[in-house]
Symmetry: C2
Subunit: 295 residues, 2 copies
Amino acid sequence: MMTAPLFERLAIVGLGLIGSSLARRVRQDGCAGELVAYDASPAVRARVAELGIADRVAETGADAVRDADCVVLCVPVGAMGSTAADLLPHMKPGAILSDVGSTKQSVIETIRPLLPDGIAFVPAHPLAGTEYSGPDSGFPTLFEGRWTLLTPPEDGDPDATAQVAALWRSCGAMTREMDPAHHDRVLAIVSHLPHLLAFTICGTADDLEGESRSEVLQFAASGFRDFTRIAASDPVMWRDVFLNNREALLEMLARFTEDAQAMARAIRWGDEDFIVDRIERGRRIRRSLIEIRQA
Amino acid sequence: MMTAPLFERLAIVGLGLIGSSLARRVRQDGCAGELVAYDASPAVRARVAELGIADRVAETGADAVRDADCVVLCVPVGAMGSTAADLLPHMKPGAILSDVGSTKQSVIETIRPLLPDGIAFVPAHPLAGTEYSGPDSGFPTLFEGRWTLLTPPEDGDPDATAQVAALWRSCGAMTREMDPAHHDRVLAIVSHLPHLLAFTICGTADDLEGESRSEVLQFAASGFRDFTRIAASDPVMWRDVFLNNREALLEMLARFTEDAQAMARAIRWGDEDFIVDRIERGRRIRRSLIEIRQA
């Protein structure tokens, strides 16, 4: 579908799974007059040029963002601050800076003090991903039918927010505005804690002695395998997410641990009603999920 | 595929997901001369007769197992003892008793003292399942390409073990013999602990206040959803599994909790190397899984 360009020139910085998917979709739909790509890694830049998923691959960040109407940072949340500090002095007045980070409070705290007058910052988070990473892993339908959450500041520029929302909707996403603290809390339970548990159980299994350890792999289909899919995700991205959503994640993990200990106690003492009640909740939640057609 | 009957008469007791899948497959392949079904629930018996997945539906357990060459108990592990006690007096000498319980030590401890002379007991566990339950949820290919573990006692009857193994291989399963204690330990980490974690995180999410709780469902696709699938499993079956594999499960949960607390500490104090190391393990395990073609 060809639409009138939303931006004369759009720059995507960081061409991993999210950045390269966004690039592919923007190129396909023509919603940017010119799409410029930049990645700090020379190997990724070369690969992006080879793949032909941007109109131009810039050799420096400064060159990528100069004259761009909108710059979308698609780097791990731990790299958002230094990347923004490098690029902001080269952005033109009136341009929009946005990002795709999985944590919003930390990104806002890092970037807001760096913002010069005349640059609007629109924090965003597309809730989409796979367990793969890098420029080859992206695909143009990644955001189709998925949410992108926008967490603009109260004193932000409503027009800039609307333009970034339009960009994500042109990628097939549904958009919603949300308070950044609330975003971080919701994501802690629906995404960050599940990933932490999945990484952890893989480690626990990996520590088992000899024969049991090899049999974990052999018999993984019995439930364990569902955890390994999300445990295959990008280490640097997830390290940064954990460190940048520390408070909300540790709170959710503390609640979860209390609940797991209560379950352990019920198992030890044979409290059948308690155990069945907890299992029934899982079923109810799954049914609700199916009802709202997410499952 | 039609094969010579392995058993003149086979009785399946308990027609849930596993029992009804076994019935469907046995009927399809003709590996029993006559297939008799019995379930303690009159509604299930009526439904099995309607579905036509057995040659005959018996009205009593005694009637079902009389003259059967092999009886397979497909009831929750907590019901194995009382079911076996009811049926064994009616079984003919030379017959085989088997089961499909997800825990093996507790089932063996419960059933062995009840065994009369002339009845061979072959404990077995097909590692297959879905999140659905009941006689309508079964399908004949459930065991295809999956393991069935046999945990025969050292003084058991090798011919009976071979016949039960042949029954499961006729269902498309691969079979392996294993020590019951080792079985319970391996299953604790690959199946029972993942289910416990999945039930628990659903409960933790369900306890969240107002808006966050409803948004868990809305944004579940970000990782949480992978946990809800296995959390939709049958409550009575899982209650019994947890209570009957208590020691191994609590030990694996204790190891997991230590590991999760170590991760929490690393997040609190910003120990990047520790976090990345744990995440890398998840990736390695996923890669190994894919290599052995289980994923």
